[in-house]
Structures are given as structure tokens and as C-alpha cells.
Subunit: 358 residues, 2 copies
């Protein structure tokens, strides 16, 4: 591949398909600020083209790869694997394996994306399934929380791998350039060594003993997430999914409550009008789509999942994550740290994939 | 016991001890609005008395039960059980067993409170440890989330018991008086039947088949909590604790961000000043101490845990929860529904208690 970055895009994924995907490509182009980039857009040629004609500058840097086949958002991953070959999602991933592209972005069916990515690209380590990281806005910036994907029951070694994956991701995406290694915490119900269930206590012991390129800080609790206590927070996908969705619910609760209070009388309305700049800025900081774009970690290749409901701005952000990860050293970081595990990692077999969480 | 309600209080528990406890009793008296109530205050006579002399109306309704022994907030539960006999916490619970009081409230060491309550009062059902319910402010009122205590690894039968305990608690504390049975949801990472790990899927099947005095609505997700999608949400204590603390972190994040935005310029400050009533009302709605007071469910007796850091108003609320539960039919509700489990509940033995979560 040349110095030009190529991003492969599933143009049919998500709630909106081509209109949001192509508008997202257009926005991403501005944010990529002069970097040389091309896009492979997989899906219905006519629908994609209808969006591109309205944005002439995209004509030269977008290549449409037509396919009629689309994996439905509610299709079972096992079924998608059987009959998804040649779909927009499948072809988008295949372009990485064929070394035609450096990264892939899809807002489609998460389970199918995970299963087909694993099938085509294979896992790097001993993990059974790719891990999904949630970039979480905090008081100190962004904390990477993983897994929020499909690894619902995790043993200590899987949690250890998540630490490696998350630290490499954080280093690539959010490093402050100081050379300081990322800090990593293990999510638990207390900070003392004897707290929590067996898996987290075993992972705690392995992380303390190990020699990795990150700074392990021990157990953290749920309230440490939004405080930004550490850069990377490791947990199983059941807990991670519940934490993430609980926080989303809280954000909606706050926004609704604030709006109700600020419209409860004319004097409050007047105050809200005067402070409208602050309230808009607040909304932007709480908006999850401002940090949309979660990579599927642990694969031989850069695969980014966008929220199905993300708007063009959110999708553009996912494209930026793809561009930044693909041009970083994170794959080497992961490989180097996973290699240090090799002696103790007998590892469960990376067997067949059953139903993922989301 | 007479019609007069008697509440037994561990006056030495929590971060503040007698000053906050006695001030809380004083506030509770106003909120109990003429109901006939007495308090047994267990702890250091001099320190408790110093607070009571400043509030003459408490003299006749408070009885001080002196003890020098206090269980430290960081004491291991196993050690507290061995050497805690005669402590303020122990004596406060013992007063229920001796039928001198109808309910007990403590802001002390949660692990010790659970262990000693279980030792003195015994469990009603097959559960190993008492369940702690978090009353969660939502867009629709309050949702009861349990367990947020010590049952970290739960099988399907334990989750089923939590549904029974939570529904009875909700009926007693938050019923709208319409006779509508409480709605119950099981916390999971998706709403379809095949989502989640084995324990939640098995519990889902048991709850659907069972005949209970509540309305089981199936799986709910993290974002459903703050939306108030159901009245009672059931989960294991690991997940529940993480969800609760994640939400606490989000509340702090939200408040801090709002404050920063509203003081970022003179115009925003002016707006905030004009709308200060709304912002104060918002703060009150988000304040966790406004719903302080979590019962330890599943015991033969009403035991309420107050946050260790709660202020007098929060402690007063915990006393109100004690008064309301003790004068409700929730104990009978639980016994009746647990009895319906009996045929299938072989049950794990209610064995020795190890370290709880918090």
C-alpha cells in the first residue's frame, strides 16, 4: 500500500445507509485536513451515487464497489456468516484482507461484523471474540472501556488481553505525546485485593506480576469511569455493556430533567436563554456521537464499528478513528505485548462463535 | 409491640456518628408527621446525650442504650462477627430479635451489618446473603434496583428471589395505591430471549413460568434504569454495584461540567443566576441522599442501611424508609411468594458468609 490511506466502508450499514455514510465521508474529509485518503464504498451503486453527485469533491476519492446483498440489522450472526458472502459488510472487510484498504468502518449489524471480521481476518491473540472499546467522555478527557461487546463470560487471561488491547488503542488514539504509558484499571466492586469474584482477582494478580507497556493501577470502581481515574478500564462485556447503557440512560435523564427545570417558569426560561451558549456546550460534551467509533480489537486488521443510529457527524468521527488507528503503531504494540503472554497463555481454543451480546 | 413504632438506631455508624444520627432523628420526626414513634439509640451515652440536650423534644422519645464498643468502618465482617457482640451495631439489631423494636437503621460497616443481621435474624428464603436494594431516581419516579450488595455470583434461583424481595419492597414503599402490581425486569445486555449468560436466561425462564404477585416484563437494559421502564430491576450484585457507581460518577460528571460551563463567561454566569431556582431544583433531584436508605432484604426483620457519608437529611430519609417498611405488609408478601418457590427451590445451603462487596 502507498502512503495514501484507504478506508473501506460498508455504505449500507446503520439505520440510515448511504445518505448518512456519504455525508459522513464528506465531513471526515474536512477533519482529515489535507491527509491523502481514499474511500471504497460498498453497497448499492445507485443509492450511493445519488449522494456523491451532490458532493462533487468526493467523486475522485470515492470508489463505489457495487453489491445488491445487504446483511439486515437483525440477522443472526451465524446466518450472516453462512449467506453473507458478497454483502456490503463482507466485501468491506475482505478489502482489508486483500490489502486493498487499511481499515474498515461499518454501522451495520454488530454481531455479523464481529463474526465475519473474525472469519476473514482471524484473531491475533488467544481471545475467542473481538473486544469492543467504548471511548467514554470523562472529566479528564476520554477513558477507553472494554469489553462492551460479546465476551460476556471472561476468564483472567481474557481480561489480561483486554488490558493489552485497550492500552495499545489508547496509546494510538489518545496519547498526550508525553511518552507516559497509559494507565490501566480493572473494574471491580471495591479497591481491596480480596474484593470481587475469582476472575477479576486472578486477572489482578496476573496484571500486577506481568511486564507490559502500560501502567497497571489496580482495581477501579464504577464511579471512577466518568472521573477519568485511569486511561483504560478493563471488564467483561456483560458488565461493560450494562455500565455503558446505564450511563447513556443517565445522560438522557439529566438532559430531560435539566430541560424540564429550565422551562418550569418564565424566569428560568429567561436564564436559560441568557446561558444558552453554556447549555449548548454542555449538550455537545454529553453527546455520545461526538466520540462515536469503536474499534473491534484483537483482529488482524483495523475494524471500526459505528453506532447504528449515528448521524453524519458521528459517522465522520468513526472514519477518523479508522484513519488514526490505521496510521499508528497499535498493531505492533499489541503483538509485542501478546508475545510476552505466550509462555503462560495455554489459551482456550479460538473456537466457533456463538451469539454475541449486541 | 404496641401501635407505637420503635426504631432501633446504631448511633455510632457512618462517617459522622451521633451528630448526624441525632440531627437525622430530629428531622425524621417532622417528616413522620404525628405518627407515634420512639427511638432506641445505641452507642456512647455522653456523645449521644450531648446532641439530644440541644433538642429537648427528643428527650422523651429517645432512649439511649449505652455501649463503648464500636465496629470500625473498615473492620472485616468475619472479625466483626467474632468480636462485635455488644457493639452499637450488634445491639441495634438484637433489639429487633428481642421484639423491642420494629426496624433497625445503621450507617455503619455494610459487611458487618449484613453478617451480623444474618447471624442474629436469619434469612427468610434460600439466599445466602441479604440483598441490598438501591432506590434509583428515574424519569418516572423511583426504580428499585437489586442486588447492589454482596451476592456477586448469582444463580437463577437467587435472581428469582431478588424479584420477589424487590417487588414486595416496591409495593410497600412506592406503590401508587392503584392496586397495580409492581413491574419487574431482569437486567441484561439485550432484550431477546437468547441474550446474556446462562444465569439470566434461566432466571428469565423461571420468572416467565412462575405465578407471583408482580408483573414480570422480561429483560431490560442499562438505559432502562434511569428511564424508569419498570418498577423493580433484578441483577447480581457485581453488575448492580458497577451500574450504581457508574451512575454516581455520571451525576458528578454532569454537575461538574454544568458548573464549568455556567461559569465560563459573565453572560453564562448571569443566565445561571437568573435560572438559579431551576438549577437548585435540579441539584435536589440528582442528590442521592434524597433517596438514602437501602433495606437489607431477605432477613427476618427490617434492617436499613444508610450511606456512611449521608447527612442528617439523608439519615432522616433512612429512618422514614424503616418506619414505612416496618408498618407495611412486605414481610408477609415476601413469605407468601417465597412459599410458591418451595417445590422447585432445592436451594444452595445458606452457608457461612465470606467477604461482601461493600
Amino acid at each position: 500500500m502507498s502512503d495514501q490511506l484507504v478506508i473501506s466502508v460498508d455504505a449500507m450499514g446503520g439505520d440510515h445507509g448511504p445518505p448518512v455514510v456519504v455525508a459522513g465521508v464528506d465531513l471526515a474529509l474536512d477533519r482529515l485536513a489535507g491527509r491523502s485518503v481514499r474511500f471504497l464504498l460498498h453497497g448499492d451503486r445507485d443509492r450511493i451515487d445519488a449522494e456523491i453527485v451532490r458532493r462533487p469533491r468526493l467523486r475522485d476519492i470515492c470508489e463505489i464497489r457495487h453489491t445488491d446483498l445487504v446483511i439486515a440489522s437483525d440477522e443472526q450472526p451465524a446466518r450472516a456468516m453462512r449467506r453473507g458472502k458478497g454483502s456490503s459488510l463482507w466485501n468491506a472487510i475482505e478489502a482489508i484482507r486483500a490489502e486493498e484498504a487499511d481499515a474498515v468502518v461499518s454501522a451495520g449489524n454488530t454481531g455479523a461484523l464481529m463474526a465475519i471480521s473474525k472469519l476473514i481476518l482471524r484473531m491475533m491473540g488467544g481471545s475467542d471474540r473481538p473486544a469492543i472499546v467504548a471511548p467514554w467522555p470523562t472529566l479528564r478527557g476520554v477513558t477507553a472501556v472494554l469489553d462492551v461487546g460479546a465476551n460476556l463470560d471472561c476468564d483472567a487471561h481474557q481480561l489480561l488481553e483486554f488490558a493489552i488491547l485497550g492500552a495499545a488503542y489508547y496509546q494510538a488514539m489518545h496519547s498526550d505525546g508525553s511518552g507516559r504509558p497509559p494507565t490501566v484499571g480493572l473494574l471491580n466492586v471495591g479497591s481491596e485485593d480480596m474484593k470481587g469474584h475469582q476472575e477479576v482477582r486472578d486477572a489482578h494478580a496476573l496484571l500486577r506480576e506481568g511486564d507490559f507497556d502500560f501502567d497497571y493501577r489496580g482495581f477501579v470502581e464504577g464511579n471512577d469511569i466518568a472521573m477519568g481515574a485511569v486511561d483504560v478500564i478493563v471488564t467483561d462485556a456483560f458488565t461493560g455493556n450494562v455500565a455503558l447503557k446505564t450511563a447513556e440512560g443517565m445522560a438522557r435523564f439529566f438532559a430531560t430533567t435539566l430541560r424540564a427545570e429550565l422551562t418550569s417558569s418564565w424566569i428560568n426560561k429567561a436564564g436559560a436563554m441568557v446561558a444558552s451558549g453554556a447549555l449548548k456546550a454542555l449538550k455537545a460534551r454529553l453527546d455520545p456521537s461526538s466520540v462515536n467509533g469503536g474499534p473491534l480489537l484483537g483482529l488482524n486488521g483495523t475494524v471500526i464499528k459505528s453506532h447504528g443510529g449515528a448521524d453524519a457527524s458521528g459517522f465522520a468521527n468513526a472514519l477518523l478513528v479508522a484513519a488514526n488507528l490505521a496510521s499508528s503503531r497499535y498493531a505492533e504494540d499489541i503483538a509485542r505485548n501478546l508475545a510476552r503472554l505466550a509462555p503462560r497463555q495455554a489459551g482456550p481454543d479460538a473456537g466457533a462463535m456463538s451469539e454475541p451480546a449486541q
